[in-house]
Assembly symmetry: C2
Homo-oligomer: 233 residues x 2
């Protein structure tokens, strides 16, 4: 406002921590790309992009996501804004500000778009390569948020297809929170008691065994619970 405060000029980028769950393998993956140019050439990073003129932050996040994977059901949310000066990611006159987002998809529903020879890949979360810059922090932060969100908000149902079995929900939770987060029958009982799932009546046969009921997320029933404390554990 007043006289001689030397303000900073910024380039603003969006970095996307994109998680995918694979209930088959019981594993959680993160999408990383290999950096083709300096700085930090040949190191891995979550996919990022600079924000374009007239483009909202979330739009930039979605744009880059769509450049890397083709997917319909996903959850996307802003994570944190990292803006320490001197991480010198931008050319000299500008400072770089990174607004990070995290996304969750199911791996089977996410088709990887590989261009220019396989520089995009899913990495299993426990076994990650070294990452450029402070991206390890971003990623850990994203992981914490993912686990928390799963416990108290219904993001699972934004990732799952329109109808799904309770076991699919359970597998998703197991994959993210670890096998022993809860007994299946208790998980099931809690989930149903919330009253936000409709039984469609339709049965789904997955190979051998008794066919499972297909459920649908009931957004209307959930609405009153929206801002209440909830436990999906």
């Amino acid at each position: 406002m007043s006289g001689a405060a030397p303000l900073a000029e910024f380039k603003v980028g969006v970095d996307n921590v994109i998680f995918s769950v694979d209930p088959e393998q019981q594993r959680l993956f993160v999408l990383l790309i290999k950096r083709l140019h300096p700085p930090c050439q040949h190191q891995w990073s979550p996919p990022g992009t600079l924000v374009r003129h007239g483009e909202s932050l979330e739009a930039a996040a979605r744009r880059i996501l769509q450049e890397k994977i083709k997917v319909h059901n996903l959850y996307l949310e802003q994570l944190y804004t990292f803006g320490a000066p001197g991480s010198d990611r931008a050319s000299a006159p500008h400072r770089y500000l990174s607004v990070s987002y995290f996304a969750l998809v199911r791996r089977e529903a996410a088709e990887l778009i590989t261009r220019e020879g396989g520089m995009t890949a899913w990495f299993s979360v426990p076994s990650l390569p070294t990452l450029a810059f402070d991206h390890h922090n971003i990623l850990n932060y994203g992981l914490r948020r993912l686990r928390n969100k799963l416990e108290y908000s219904p993001i699972a149902f934004e990732v799952l297809p329109d109808v799904f079995t309770l076991n699919e929900v359970y597998q998703l939770y197991c994959t993210v929170l670890g096998e022993n987060f809860a007994d299946y029958s208790n998980f099931r009982a809690r989930l149903l008691k919330l009253g936000i799932l409709q039984d469609t009546g339709v049965k789904a046969s997955r190979g051998a065994g008794r066919p499972a009921s297909l459920y649908r997320f009931d957004a209307i029933a959930f609405e009153p619970l929206r801002h209440k404390p909830l436990v999906f554990v």
Copy 2:
């Protein structure tokens, strides 16, 4: 990266939603300043500032906070980054990005610094004036976050003085979460059971009635619980 992507240039600002609790009055306040210059002249806003060259985001947030109030114990955390294009807060060639922070202080411990004639003031949360831009959203978002944080993380103890009575904690919670969030004796029992408060043995007489024990937050005892789910309710 590639050819003709028209990138945006940004000025980055920090906007601070500063809450103060007044257990005496049982009220929650927000610090607002009256805008002296266009745009939105004469409207109220949370205090904000543009980020200076070489200054981190959090440093900018602390700088502006210190310009407005003098306080020792406070809690400060990044809230959200708002960056929709076309909210035209900045001069033409630049887009404006607002990284919001929220802070919590006790009102008795926060001395207001008034300069140039009373353009800074605490507003009681239920009765706010109309705010400039989308600041109403920022504020509501901050309030939600404050209430959540109080329930599952020990931010209260960063705001309270080094030693405090359990009643002071309770009053703080009441003021933020509403009178009827919990019975005092139950709150007390839960809090003590967590084992993160040390009884100093010292008693404090607050006028009539039995003197209260003074407690101290035990950071070492809390450390192992740091990332575990907790309920302070």
